[in-house]
Amino acid sequence: MRKKIRFQNTKAETAVYFCASLTGLLLIWYLAVRYTNLNKVMPSPFEVFAFVGSSFVKNIGSRILPFHILASLKRVFVGYFLACIIGIPLGIIMGCSRTGKAVIKPIFELLRPIPGLAWIPLAILWFGIGESSKYFIICVSAIVSIILNSYSGASQVDPILTGAAKMLGARPIQIFFYITLPSSVPQIFAGLQVGLSSSWMAVIAAEMIRASEGAGWIITTGMESGNTVQILSGMISIGLVGLLLASLLRLMERGLCAWNIQGK
Amino acid sequence: MSKVEVNHLTKSFGKLKVLDDISFQVEDGDFLCIVGPTGCGKTTFLNSLVKLYDVDCGEILINGEAVDLNKHSIAYIMQEYSTMSWLTVRENVQFGMKIRKFSKKKIKEKTQEVLRMVGMEKFADYYPGQLSASMLQRVSIARAFAVEPDLLLMDEPYGQLDLELRFKLEDELIRIWQETKTTIIFITHNIEEAVYMSRRIMVLTNKPTKVKEDFENPLPLPRNVTEESFVEMRNRVTNLIKWW
């Protein structure tokens, strides 16, 4: 795309605005709590930050905050990993072989519209309230977008490229490994990105329904005890960890798909 | 119809100076072809002409006044296909006239006229997605002429087309130009195209771009690509550019 008419705003300007609106937001929050009756319902920002800070040392429930986050992360990674090992091959098989697609796609289309979280009651019934039901819920929530993107990646390989590979003497097996797989990597990563954010949401929901520790547990117990400070700090840490996970995955993608990035 | 004057036009992106003190004049109804090596800022030059880029210094006057997109009627045909895929051919052609706030009756008449001019009446209700590259380029030309522009800017509009289509569209443009007497500034890489169509040729240097040479093209229309005088003019321009 041609360069914008006006100069692209420099990095510095965006950073300045970011800090300005961040401090503005905190200021409004602080003033509103201090001078209006909002404080019955809402803690001041400093209380929240103090609580988050102290919870690195003081326990929430039976453990400190980082432990809760780690518990949630463990669940996410088990469920997400499961979704990847099952979802990516399924998607690629559907994308590459017509019979594979004819067999798998109808069943996938049947189960696809059911939201991941709707599986929670059944999961608890099947696997009890322990860890395995959470792994199941996370896997189900993430697998849909992983399958979909792997499928579209594998099925939309540029025919000119497969033609060129054939011309250079590549046999069908080689075409699969050297053409189909590499060219669908960016699309698979798109699926992984969406899958990761759905997993992070699913673990919070699962923990809110029934758990003894974890990020979701923090905000639910906060709700039950009416402790808004705990809820807000729980939400902030959930948000930060979610952001961290997404950017980690983006870093991995930049490493693997260096060939896909424009720029000189 | 309009006379274009450019005095000491200078433009740079950050430290990189792209246009360096360019001054020239285009008479009313003239057909000026601008030729230059790839990447010598021809497109930047055209964009600066119509204030799409803000210029470091220098002034651009049309009929004596500073360029103002609302007052002066200018049309711009670019190399990339600029037809809007969500509008039918008819709506694309009317796009400029609606912005210029032409009367309903005039829009209806003008649309019919320009579509006939480029031979696209049959495709009036098609969407760009259904048309070939040369048809799309014809739609942009029709859209440009519909607003009866004082000044028509064309940035290598036939760069991507097949040889035979390019010949046809060049002849068509000359015919329309003779009919409407619009002032045309036409940018191209292709020296043969410039010598074939222009009444005046301007050769630009490499970056930072200066006007190397600006001279009349006396060859009578219609021109024959193989005539001795044509080949001689073509050699002259090629030696001026020397980009390889």
Binding site: T220, G234, I238 | -
Partner: protein, 260 residues
């Protein structure tokens, strides 16, 4: 080519039939799983019919739950896209709005909609307002992102064409910006719909007295797996139907064969 197509449709039909028959064999014929936790398709069908009229055990027929869910979901969804799409468009077009609003939006965005439920319940109780707010939050984010990206991806050649015809910034936005962003906006509407439907189920499971989410949660308490499945299938079906309606709308509105 014709027989090839027929062959693949046959395989698809066969695979669905196999899926159902395996499910049936595993449950009713070989009793590998107790039917209370894993009912057979037949039992689920019976439960479906029964649930149409019977209120127990969750205090409402399928229709009343569905109506309650739809009301809340559409209320929150329409509010979410009604605010999200225009805000995304303005953020994408005007740099000033982008610089001010985007940072706040980027702060709030990483918190999954489900994370808002406890706060909303504490503030707004377990009534309709809390659930509608949660759904609003889950609908607004994708619509802002897609409208913003759609406008940012407007082809600058089209903007230049409009500008040279003398169109001012606002007129260019309306005549070029929005139409070329439409496919992306509709993609956003679909994502918002999915997110809202998901958030609704979660909100109803956590604190509600009616709705499909509440229904499957209650049935879990009493161990009625067949009702849970009925609830899940209904949620899936209605979700798919809403998406289908959105696609029909898109085909009509997005002209020039450019649907995403």
């Amino acid at each position: 080519m014709k027989e090839k197509k027929l062959k693949y449709t046959l395989i698809s039909v066969a695979s669905i039939a196999a899926f159902l028959s395996v499910w049936y064999l595993v449950t009713d014929v070989f009793h590998i799983f107790p039917s209370s936790t894993f009912p057979s398709p037949v039992k689920v069908a019976q439960a479906f019919i029964r649930k149409l009229t019977v209120k127990t055990p969750d205090g409402g027929t399928l229709a009343t739950h569905l109506a309650a869910s739809l009301k809340v979901a559409l209320y929150g969804y329409l509010l979410g896209i009604g605010i999200g799409v225009p805000l995304g468009i303005l953020m994408g077009w005007f740099r000033k709005v982008d610089l001010i609003v985007k940072p706040i939006f980027d702060l709030v965005r990483p918190i999954p909609p489900v994370g808002w439920i406890p706060l909303m319940i504490l503030w707004l109780g377990i009534g309709m307002r809390a659930k509608a707010t949660v759904i609003f939050v889950s609908a607004v984010t994708p619509s802002i992102i897609n409208a913003y990206t759609g406008i940012k991806q407007t082809n600058s050649v089209h903007i230049w064409v409009a500008r040279t015809f003398g169109a001012k910034s606002l007129e260019t936005l309306i005549k070029v910006g929005i139409p070329s962003a439409l496919p992306m906006i509709f993609a956003g509407l679909k994502v918002s719909l999915g997110a809202s439907w998901m958030a609704l189920v979660a909100a109803e499971m956590l604190a509600s007295t009616e709705g499909l989410g509440y229904m499957i949660q209650m049935n879990r308490m009493v161990g009625k797996a067949d009702n849970i499945m009925v609830g899940m299938i209904t949620i899936g079906l209605v979700g798919a139907m809403l998406t289908w309606i959105l696609e029909k709308l898109e085909n009509k509105l997005v002209k020039g064969g450019r649907t995403k």
